[in-house]
Symmetry: C2
Amino acid sequence: MFEFMTIRELYDLIKTNNILEMDSLQYVQLQGWIRTNRCNGSVGFIELNDGTFFKNCQLVYTPQLANFSEISKCLTGAALTVIGKFKLTPENKQPFEIELTEATIEASCSNDYPLQKKRHSLEYLRDLAHLRVRTNTFSAVFRVRSSLAMALHEFFQNQGFVYVQTPIITGNDAEGAGEVFTVTTRKDDKYDQDFFGKRASLTVSGQLHVEAYALAFRDVYTFGPTFRAENSNTKKHANEFWMCEPEIAFADLEDDMNLMEDMIKYCIQYVFDNCSEEMEFFNNFIDKDHTLIERLKKVLDSSFARINYSDALQQLKAVEDQFENKVFWGMDIQTEHEKYLTEKYGPVFVMNYPKESKAFYMRLNDDNKTVAATDLLMPVVGELCGGSQREERYDVLLNRMNEMGVPVSSLQWYLDLRKYGCCQHAGFGVGFERLLMYITSMENIRDVLSYPRTPRNLQF
Amino acid sequence: MFEFMTIRELYDLIKTNNILEMDSLQYVQLQGWIRTNRCNGSVGFIELNDGTFFKNCQLVYTPQLANFSEISKCLTGAALTVIGKFKLTPENKQPFEIELTEATIEASCSNDYPLQKKRHSLEYLRDLAHLRVRTNTFSAVFRVRSSLAMALHEFFQNQGFVYVQTPIITGNDAEGAGEVFTVTTRKDDKYDQDFFGKRASLTVSGQLHVEAYALAFRDVYTFGPTFRAENSNTKKHANEFWMCEPEIAFADLEDDMNLMEDMIKYCIQYVFDNCSEEMEFFNNFIDKDHTLIERLKKVLDSSFARINYSDALQQLKAVEDQFENKVFWGMDIQTEHEKYLTEKYGPVFVMNYPKESKAFYMRLNDDNKTVAATDLLMPVVGELCGGSQREERYDVLLNRMNEMGVPVSSLQWYLDLRKYGCCQHAGFGVGFERLLMYITSMENIRDVLSYPRTPRNLQF
């Protein structure tokens, strides 16, 4: 009689031009939620979205429908199960429609539903974190987010990387990355009597923990939530976000950059392949210049440049006049400098930074001034991710920890790794939301996290 | 001259009997860590593990090697890069060996290396969380863990499920699952002045948050860390562990059970396909009866039984004498009862439990006494996972929350979902470590977590 179909399956028939299948398809059953419903008394049109596909499916109904009147009064947001005749409509904007023969209301929608037909601002929708994913923008964001996560897993697992789930609760006081949240069952700071018998905090990175696994499995990666207790309200910062941190053994900074470049390209291609409707939407409605797809395709075709920090500084110095900030060796590369470099080079790795600006675990170069670290700068958005070769020499690492005031006692196990077959190894971290924002052109991190955590914001 | 190969690649040639490739293979380069090294002065043998494969590769060296003496003194744990001749040895235990022509020590290993040749107890290795993954047992555990994670992602994504990363920090006071950790930047309990302006805690489940996404995408799942602040020291409890929580819309309890059954089978098959050496190891060296593989294969071939709690109780009552615990309607099903039921049925879903023993969000059945919940019981291990249809009726849910003392104010958004197109939906949660323990026969949760978190245990 009828076949249950998802809207994705119907669009797949159209996309693959599966004429045989379409011809045999008579009556279909669909389930979904009403995006819009308009009826002039003799004919009604429902835009139904079933969650499986970015686009809606048009349902057409007439007074021949037994519960015509009831259906015509159905509000945006209501859930329906319908049966109808599948009809190709090549002359219309939508390639097909469903002429309803049956319609059942699975769940009605209250008339105070905050997502009405009109366009809502992203800011307004942030207060509706439980509902906003029903809109086009957030439906696109969170489907791409899911695909991008899968892209990372596939990229690494296809090459034999082992996924390591490093702990969230950590006793390592300082991993060198800013302020941390305390995890406690007490109402005071007597941490020696606390649950873990010492002060516990939320991790800022799984890198130190995962290095131990790279020294056993060779190639590993983490993918999980990380935390910063920074009280900053910018578009790029949230207090809870996801990081992916690959770590590779028998590898140096060049291997690290190769992996980073391959990973970025794989992710872009994967999202193109799996979320083409969503990417078109981001290109046409989110990206300011409507050049998102063009830019990403260019990245796929490019070979990422690689320059030393010192060389980059020389080049910047030569055109210092065009910058607001002075150029001097030792400085952080600022947004305006990133812009200059990426306009010149396209995607570019800057390598071998002054040791003062980088973390204690990065490998000290022979010049004793720089470390084997790299940041990947991308056109338009700037820094996308960063990595380093790790310091594998016990004495050098211990010295750096003491120089930088990193407490040794809670990281003795990390130091000890240097005593036991610690081959050269390297790794990097990519902020998952930053990568997602890069690929979607979404500008505020609050709009790519399911329920974002920012200062004084814990509504859901 | 030579080709870089991993030990996995070499074994793949053997397994696929790729004669052409093997014939053309002359000299190979390998990198890895010494598991054992013995030398009688005229010939030496190194068992090298490179992390890509469960098994080692045998390296053979003689005084013809330029640094023969140095290599012969290399200790267990040291990292090497070697070049040698690939030689099939069909008459030996190992199908091939490498006759070294070059060997470079990448990193030596201190002679206080705690992982010596002799067998160490799992308890002893727990204090070496940074090194234990270099042993056979933990290498097997953590490769299967990685594969099992990928199995879950593939299972869901292949069917169009959207992966939702629900928040770790939550403001929902009580999700009905025991004690929670507080997340704070203060040293007292003035939470209104705290980072988020209210008390924040670590999540015990992503379910409530992900329900909102199921009501937009239809089929979704979470996969992430969850926390319990319970001060219990059992083999099955850790304070930090991973959960996978699928949630499906337009679905009832039966759909939920179908999904659970499919998922379990997919995971088992995936691990068989991707970790056959590891599974043989677990069968022969970890499983008490050496029947692990046989048991899991039986599960693959079985159709999981489904019985109502009330029917199960009647059956248990009929043989009450054989149990230590009395059988009465309303009781929790104990280990001995699980054993009886699974011996009778094999894998079995028990459905429709007394509402008193279950969570507030589970759908109240028409009898007003039971809820549409299910637990999956497996032979030998008992309960593996549980799920329920969710209460989609606003008034019924509100009533249950009040009955059970669940604070409504912080979950108003969750209640509100019931006003806006809340079709019937269902979901379940599977403890990732429990599933991993089931598939590997590992008995202590501390041995399947990279750095386990248990009371007063935060060494790493």
